[in-house]
Symmetry: C2
Subunit: 219 residues, 2 copies
């Protein structure tokens, strides 16, 4: 059986989300380079895979998927075992619901709060050659602190976001948090010791270490 294909760039946060899931489940895969800095995501052969012209796209035999969160869930379902069920869908609908809640929290609350700092400090300088807008960063940090306060309270009650075992909800936080930690604002996390320990626990995972190796933080 030929390995699945991920079409994208290993620096992209959305591609990283997919690669991390593949590494967590120990799946074989091939990363087919799409140079988004050169605009290759708009080339006709990529648009055939992802009609929105974004990375990643994903292929498993005849099945073609896009949208990184959807691809990630497919990978986790395909490779789930009794010991490895990061969506907790084999456990109970209540446990699966907690994974969904904190996965949505990442998408709707955490990402909008943390991503502007990463865009201003890392992504826009690379893609557009701009310098960071301090006003945007300050607003983003204020919002992030409110979110981290809620995370701190949550992680006082359970070891991971969706309960006492790790889930997709946790690892889903990796891509943007990793780049945030490469900005001058990383010390913000020091004010939230449970969150900091949770993050350090994520960083210690072998799958995370493997994906990190291809994510440059100095440009």
């Amino acid at each position: 059986m030929s390995p699945v294909k991920v079409f994208g760039h290993p620096m992209s946060t959305n591609v990283v989300r997919v690669l991390l899931c593949l590494e967590e489940v120990g799946a074989q895969y091939e990363l087919v380079p799409v140079d988004f800095l050169a605009g290759q995501q708009n080339d006709p052969q990529h648009v055939q895979l992802n009609p929105f012209g974004k990375i990643p796209a994903f292929q498993d035999g005849d099945l073609v998927l896009f949208e990184s969160r959807a691809i990630a869930k497919y990978i986790l379902r395909k490779h789930r075992t009794n010991d490895l069920d990061l969506l907790k869908e084999n456990s109970s609908i209540e446990e699966a619901a907690m994974v969904d809640v904190w996965t949505e929290v990442e998408s709707q609350q955490y990402y909008p709060a943390i991503s502007p700092v990463v865009f201003e400090c890392i992504i826009f300088p690379i893609m557009r050659g701009t310098t960071a807008n301090q006003e945007v960063i300050d607003g983003s940090l204020e919002r992030l602190k409110k979110v981290l306060e809620i995370y701190e309270a949550r992680l006082e009650k359970s070891r991971y976001l969706a309960g006492d075992s790790i889930s997709f909800a946790d690892i889903n936080h990796f891509p943007f948090t990793f780049y945030f930690m490469a900005t001058p604002y990383a010390p913000v996390f020091d004010g939230y010791p449970k969150v900091k320990a949770w993050w350090e626990g994520l960083m210690a995972r072998p799958a995370v270490k493997k994906v990190c190796a291809n994510m440059p933080t100095e440009f």
Copy 2:
């Protein structure tokens, strides 16, 4: 067994997402009013249910959930039968993945394109007393047209977004599209006949009609 409780306001798009799922599966529920125009989502008793101070929150016995997409999935899983499986998780991981793909497309591509028109024309005037910003609307419509073009191509291939039967991916488009259709820009959809027919099909569903009855479009 006491019915589940939805804490929110029947005008809110995120509350509507949850109510629509409850109506689709025929579940009993109680809507506990939280007046977001009066800021009640920040009252301590609501923040206990949803730490981010947003609506909706949801309670089923001891289980408390927030984030409307997560609540919706819980409801659809709890009430799924062989004939009614709007997440298609009982079908195959490939079919479930297509539901996830087009659910994420709604969240990441469709919502960002359509929502500014709804915010400018309906939501901000009610909540902030502002008048619509035409520049924002024009940018949003340009973006929306590109998205609708991709939807049109998709709906030429399959009757619904995730395949030939309806799924959560389709009904998830209801709340914002409903309000968009109450703006002067509704005729934009006339340029996309497959999308228009798909939308009219959604509007004809009994569950949709029931939820619509509590969504005012004139203020």
